[in-house]
Structures are given as structure tokens and as C-alpha cells.
Amino acid sequence: MLTTKTFIKKTKKGGILKIVREHYLRDDITCGSEICEKCDNKSARPLQENPVNKSDVCKSPHYLIPDTNVVLHQIDVLEDSAIQNVIILQTVLDEVRHRSAPGYKRLKDALYNPDKHFYTFYTYVERQPGETANDRNDRAIREGVKWYHNHLSSKKMSVVLVTNDAENKRKASEEGLNVFTIHEYVKSLRDSSSLVDRLAQSGQNVSYRDKVEFPEHLSLSVIQKGIKSGKYVQGSYMASRENYLEAYVSVHDGDKMIFIQGHMNLNRAIHSDIVAVEMLPEDEWSCPSSLVLEEKEEKVDEENIEMEDEKVKKRKIPKELQQPTGRIVGIIKRNWRQYCGIIRPSTTRHLVIPAERRIPRIRIETRQAADLASQRIVVAIDSWPRNSRYPNGHFVKKLGTIGDKETENEVLLLEHDVPHSNFSEAVLSCLPKLPWVITEEDMKHRQDLRHIDVCSVDPPGCTDIDDALHCRELENGNLERIDMVPELLSSNLCSLRCDVDRFAFSTLWEMTHDAEVVKVWFTKSVIFSRASLTYAEAQMRIDDKSMNDNITKSLRHLNKLAKILKRNRISNGETNSMVEEFMLLANVYTAKKTLEEFPDCAMLRRHPSPPPSNFDPLIKAAESKGFKMDVSCGKALADSLEKAVIPADPYFNTMLRIMATRCMMQAVYSDIIVHRLLAVCIGADASYPSLTDKHKTQTLCNNLNYRHKMAQYAGRASVNLHTHNALQILIPKYGLEGTLRVHRHVVKQYSPVFHRVIVQISIDQSNVQHLKLSIKLVEPVIPGFSVAPAKKEEEEDGPPRKKVKT
């Protein structure tokens, strides 16, 4: 079994550690080509015998071998179906893995896709004395190409090295290899105009005469030294949603935030990059302008960068408002993704306006600009040279016509980074075949609860049916409550729709009528939901004395228990309501059980206490009406909210509560993992080894937190509590909320917090990417600002009540 291998020691020196690793060189690696007769033909051979060839520069059939930079920068092109039969050398794969996690993932997807005919080939080349790692890798790639060249030459199959590195290209052609730049190669393909658009522009010496010059970014080694000595700090860059001239950098260790302001200080960082920051001297510290600034739609003025920066500098900042302010000196890691946007065609260069406001405009080159004008498109950023006002990028794909429902959905999902692309083959093969039936195998580990009358109740505004409830009286007088959560979130397969058998994860309680838990256990189950009710329907059933079916009885029991539970918990100092009450109970018990069994990798959801400063807007708003908010703890807050009632104005309390909720940060949720861990503890599932792995759980958790956050953004637009020149308006009649921009002195003059106003609403279509609710003030009448009422009838069927707050 032991193949004879020579081995070579690799020695690395770092600090005092001397690491000696051995590496086994193999002689059993195959070339992966269908055409080959030399290699063992039992292993996979994805490279085709007759590859489709549309190239004019290499007319013989050939396989492509890209170098690392081509893979990193031109992955959009490589992913195109026109590019097939590609050999990825191990050296390239390793480098891509170290340099870009998303790039690596996309490359791996291509390698897995049988239609792409990608193949990984291992090469090993020892570093020569005096040779840099880069030179070694380039040489390894050329060695790989040479090997294939010799290996397949008898079969009349060529290999083409694709590299944009001039030196590498020169050496390769000296060695007699076929070599082209990606641009030469792609442009030589017949019918390739759309593919040419997708070429990234980096390394193509695109220069625009923008008359700007950003400060140079420091090199990584300088940054590292600076961070060590404390001169610079490292953090994640978070562009402001409201003002394109402002950003914060969240410092990695510690909760510190550093404020950054002005083009030159922002220095080409893009949202979510990891950056190095140098602090400014204290007398230059600044604070957010609180002005809602949006980048000018109109012309791009070459000088305006400096002008804008000057304008910012001129502002006088009172000492007490100043925040630690810094400037960005270098980029540690770019975290660019693909961005949705619309194109604004012009004669020479086209700017793409991303749907995400935190991303700057992106300049792209395309030959189909006119065609793209009506489309939502996806673009990628390639580079941001010092002399360019905007980052350069390239076109990736069209999403569809602007305004089309499907397209808009796709934009939302993409922009909030909710993965929605087609699942890979591997994932699909795990899913049961449709039509889906429950098999005996499935029942082995599950409790059959289909005979129980279960129904689901959606909390208001929730479309995912994901909690089903049941409660019945047991023979011993106690109540049995069951709480079921579908095993995986979403999809037809899992959500607890009524009238179909569904897998669920159930928590069963035996409780007394006083809501004391006697016993609790967990099981995987099969359930059959009798009804899926909305909140209102459930309430109706509870109130309707004539209804006495099992479901209604169940609901009444639940309602009663929920009230008791709520009372108990409020006296412990927490706020919550109804269905959530039970979800919470389920979570508490699940957490206990999971923690017992998996002390290392249990994930618990924690409600961190929100920092008191978060509550400032709430306290101020309540004060304006003479109420005091005690935010010292959850219970105190709940009590003060309870008391803050103006009998004549029932919406006052509602609005306060809305504000209170906004002030509290939402916590983290990680349902799926909790389910899996719980499944393992009750022995229903074989454990996934990676699930009990602390580090993997940690990464997964971070990802979950991130997804959760993004999903929340997708779910509701974030509301800015900090602007001083806008009023938030709640329109109860339509359940709408909007922003009314007013001049500062109007706010001062009228002090309109919680005032009732009359407004006129319409849809602002001036920016198709962000259809906005436009609100205009009707009453109180402010000369030069308010507008005349539009139609009289509207007011007659009850004037919408509006509240405002600063």
C-alpha cells in the first residue's frame, strides 16, 4: 500500500520556531484528460477530448491554464459558460485560497461543476536560493504548462497559459509555450462581446484625468510595523448610510469607533474593508455633520473633491461634540463583493450607481451601455487608482428590467447578501426527492404527533410560519404543551404549513395550570398542522364563546399560560409578548439542555444590555411630553413605558414603544445550529464532526450573526434616530413611517415632538433605485414650507393622524 515516495524537507524560519515539514511527492497523479492513454484511466477525467474552440489566436484544440492573478481578477470571465476545459494548478489554487476567500469559493464551485470541465493538477517546484515566493509560483505554473505540453503533444492537444504578468509571459514564450493575456484571449473569441465586458480592467492602465490625487496607501509591512508600535490601528470600515463623506472604523480589539470624514481621509476605502487608521491630532477632531448628504446626481466636477473636503473642514465643531477622528492610511484587506446597480450612460465612461448607498459609484467600460440603461445590473470593483475619482470595475451580469418584480426581489436578496443562487448539485442531492413522502426510515427516530391538533400562529407581520403550538389537558389535570419548530428554516419542505405532514422539532412540556413546568423533553417529530392562523384569527377564536373545537381550546389554554408566564417574567424584569412568550420558554429549555451536553460548542442567544446612550432619543422625546424614562434596567423601562400614557392621544404610547424597541439592539439568533445540537443530544442524529468542532462553530456563529443582521436590514429599513434636520412621521392609517426633511429652525420653532400633523404623501420616483415615500407638510402651516392640501375627500374619511419626533 505504501507507494515509494521521495520526500523533501521544507524549512521555514519565523521567530525561534523551526518548523520542519515533509512533503510527499507523488507519481500517481493523472492529467485528467479524456484523450490521454498514459495515465491511469480510472480516475476522474473532466477535460474533454474535443474542447469547443472559438479562439482565433489558438486555432488548435487546447486547454487553458490561468495564473493566480487571472483567477483572482477575472473570475467573472472564468465562470462564463464560454470558458471550459481549464486546468487549475495546485499552486494557483493555494494562492487563491490564501488571498481571497470568496474567490476561492467561486473557483471551487467551478471545479465542482461538471459542465465547466475544470481540473486540478498538482505540481511541486522547490524554491531556488534567492528566488521570491512569487517567482517560484510563476515558475511552478510554467513547469505545469510545460508538463502538459509534453504530456499531450503526441495527441495534438495544446495548452495555453493565460497570464497578464508581462515578465511571466515573456519567460513563457522564451520557453516555447503558448501564452496570452486574458484580454488577448477573450477578445480573440468569436461572439464574445458580452464576455469582453466582463473583463476586469485592473492592470490595463486605465487612467482618467480626474485631477485628483488620493494619498498613497501604505504597504502591508509598513502597516504591520505601525500597528505594532501603536501608530496605526486596525479596524473594519463602515461607510455611513446617510453621508457619503463620513464613515466609522470599528477597531478590532475593543469597542472603540474612530470617525473618518472627507474624501482624502476616507482615502478610497470601501464599506466593509479592513483598514489601517492613523489618529488625527485632537484639534482636528470632528463629528458627524448630521446633515443627510447624498452624492450629487448631476455632473461630476473634477475639482469638487477638494472643495467638498474644504467645506467639511470649515465647519466649527464645539469641543464637547468632537469624536476621536482619524484618517485611513492603508487597506489591510479589501472585502469587495459584487454590487447591484443601475448604469448612468454617458459618452466615454459609464458610472454605475450601486443600490447600496454605502458603496461609491463604480466606473465601468461597456459596449452595451444603451442596452443596459433600462436594466438592473451586477458589477464588480477591480481597482481604485490614486488618480481616479471613482473605483474602476466591470460588468458582471444583467438582473432584468428595472421595476420588474422578479428583478427587484433579486436585488434585495443580493444586496443583503442573502444567499439565493441555485444550490450546487451536492446540496440538491441531499434533499429528498419530490413528491416527498415520509418513509419508515424517517419514522425510526421520530415521534409521531400527527394525531394531535396542532395549529400555527404567526406573530403579526411575519410571513414565515415557523412555530406551531398545541396545548391539551392531561388526565392528571396538568396541561401538556407542545411547541414545534420546523427543522430547517424556510422552503416548502420545512415550513409548518397546514394540512401536510411535516418534520418538526418538538418541545413537550407538562405544566400545571399555574404555568409551573413539571417536566420537559425534546423530540424529533412528524406533525400535521390543522390550521395556520394569523394573530388576529387566533385572538378571534379565543374570544368567540361559541367555538369549542380542540384548536380553540388549545389556544385558550395557551393564552392563559402565556399571560401567567409573562407576568412572571416581567416581575423578573423583561419585556415581551404572547407567542414570543412560548418561543422564549422553548429557547430557555433548549439552551439548558444543549449547554449540558455540549459545554464547548453550545450557542446561546444573549441579549446584551444595550448601552444607555442608545436610549437618549427616547429619553429626550419622552421628556418633551413630561414623562421620565428609566432605562436602568429592562423592568424599569417596561414600567416607565407602562406609565407614559396620554389618554387623549392613544398613539403616543405606541410611538414611545416603537422608539424603545429601536433603541434596543436585536439579539442574535442561531436556530439551525441549536436544533442540530439538540438533535445530537437526544440521539436522533449522528453528529456532524464539524458541529462539535469549536472553531467551526465559531465561524458558523459569526456567519449566522452576520446573516441575521443582514436579514434584519432586508426586513426593515433602518431608521436614523440621529438627524437633527428631519422629522420621523408615523401614519397609523397606512402603517407607514417616513422622513420629513425640514430646516433646522422649523424644528426649533415648533418643537413638534409627538405633535399631530397633517401631511400629503406620494411616491417619489426620481431615483428608480430607491423609490421613496415623499411626505409634504400640510398642517401646521409654515410659510414657504408647507403645501396646500391636495384633495378634500381624504380628510373626510378621517384625517390620518401623524406624530413627529426629532
Binding site: 485560497r97 445530537v680 464532526p689
Partner: protein, 241 residues
């Protein structure tokens, strides 16, 4: 950034091996003439020297007393540090080795005597216990002490749903489960089994099987080495036929 990929999608481990492949094993018997028996083994970059000495003692009348001494050379790991004989790790290893060989040596053949097994790890790259056991077995054979069978040891781990055999230092320190087995290969009896880190019971038997299979492979190599050594010695002494 991306951590180490212990097992690539193409089925290769960090050092280029496939999942079921052992590291290269090289060994020699009779490396010292002073000792009653000695052997040197290299399993990849792990290098171990073992020596045997027999002597009289009076404590046990019905069987031989097996005594072990395990130590690691100061230069054996990347980090150079003093390793006093009595440190906890060495003591534990010493005890494990004694138990292992107590089970394999036909102890009742030598009443009122003592067998000392000295093991020194010269270079460590994972699998110290395994290499020590294998070296000690060879040294015992070199000393001509009757054993029930060879004692062969091998480790295994579990990465990406796949058991891997004979793990090196990098794989060992990745926090993945580690199973160490010593067997008497002919009868497939397990004389020692140790597990580190967590592994789900569903996968346990797969990983143990892999380690046991590894022991058999080790046995093949050791056996060849012993036969080569014997025939070499025979040639030198003119004992052919």
C-alpha cells in the same frame, strides 16, 4: 484568512499523502553494541531510538519486571526547551509504554529479573507514542526477548467525514479527534487504545478500524526489516542454510 486545509477536495493531505497512506518508515536493528538490544526508527520526521537492558532483581518471583524510561531530546521539537525526565507528559508516556509491553512480553519466562526499555525521541513530528512502541518492539526482538507478537502502534484521526491514518504533528495539533492504537497484529488484539478530543460514537469504529489497519501496515514493514536484519546477521556469521 483561511486556515490549514487538512484534507483537500482532491483527497490529499497537507503533506501530500492520501487518507490511508502511512508516512515513510525506515528502521534499523542493533544500532548499539553495548545494549542487549536496540533499534532506530523513522516515521516521517519522527525519529526514535530504543535500547533494552536486562538485569537481575528480587521484587517479583514469578515474572519479569518491565521498566520503561521515555524521554525527549531537547532539540526534538521546533521549540527548544529543557525536558526533565520526570515531567508529566514523559511520566504518562512511560506508564503507557510499560503497560503496553507488559501485555506483550511473555513475562513469566524470566522470573526475578528486570527488563529496562529506554526510549529517546530524537525528533518529533507527531505520533511519538506510536514510533516509540514500534522502536521498542524492534529493540526487544533484537534483544531476543520472546513476545506474544510484534506490538505495532498507529494513530488515526477524522477529517471532513473521512478517517486519516498516521497523523503528523500538524494534523495532531489541529484539534481534531485523535485515536492511538497498539495491537498484536496477528491476533488483532488491541493492547492499548487512547483517544484525545471529541469524536462522535457513530464514527468511532471507522476511525479505530483505520488505526488497526495502519498497525497491520506497520507490521509488514517491521517484519520485513527484522527478516532483512536476521539474514544480514546470518550472512556475517556464515549461518546460511
Amino acid at each position: 484568512m483561511a486556515g490549514l486545509e487538512l484534507l483537500s477536495d482532491q483527497g490529499f493531505r497537507i503533506d501530500g499523502r492520501r487518507v490511508h497512506e502511512l508516512r515513510k518508515i525506515q528502521c534499523r536493528l542493533g544500532v548499539f553494541s553495548q545494549a542487549d538490544g536496540s533499534a532506530y526508527i523513522e516515521q516521517g520526521n519522527t525519529k526514535v531510538l530504543a535500547a533494552i537492558r536486562g538485569s537481575k532483581q528480587k521484587t517479583l518471583h514469578d515474572k519479569v519486571l518491565v521498566n520503561c524510561q521515555y524521554s525527549m531530546a531537547t532539540f526534538s521539537t521546533g521549540e527548544r526547551k529543557r525536558r526533565p525526565r520526570g515531567d508529566r507528559k514523559s511520566q504518562e508516556m512511560t506508564m503507557h509504554l510499560r503497560q503496553t509491553f507488559d501485555a506483550a512480553i511473555l513475562t513469566n519466562l524470566y522470573p526475578r529479573s528486570q527488563i529496562d526499555i529506554f526510549v529517546e525521541v530524537l525528533q518529533s513530528d507527531g505520533g511519538n507514542y506510536c514510533a516509540s512502541v514500534n522502536a521498542a518492539t524492534l529493540a526487544l526482538i533484537d534483544a531476543g526477548i520472546p513476545l506474544k507478537d510484534y506490538v505495532c502502534a498507529c494513530s488515526a484521526s477524522f477529517v471532513n467525514d473521512s478517517p486519516i491514518v498516521d497523523i503528523n504533528y500538524l494534523e495532531e495539533s489541529s484539534g481534531k479527534p485523535e485515536i492511538i492504537v497498539a495491537t498484536l497484529p496477528k491476533s488483532e488484539q488491541i493492547v492499548f487504545l487512547e483517544m484525545n478530543s471529541r469524536l462522535h460514537e457513530d464514527n468511532l469504529s471507522k476511525v479505530v478500524d483505520t488505526a488497526v489497519k495502519g498497525c497491520k501496515d506497520v507490521y509488514q514493514i517491521l517484519d520485513t526489516a527484522v527478516r532483512d536484519h536476521v539474514s544480514q546477521v546470518a550472512t556475517v556469521h556464515g549461518w546460511e542454510n
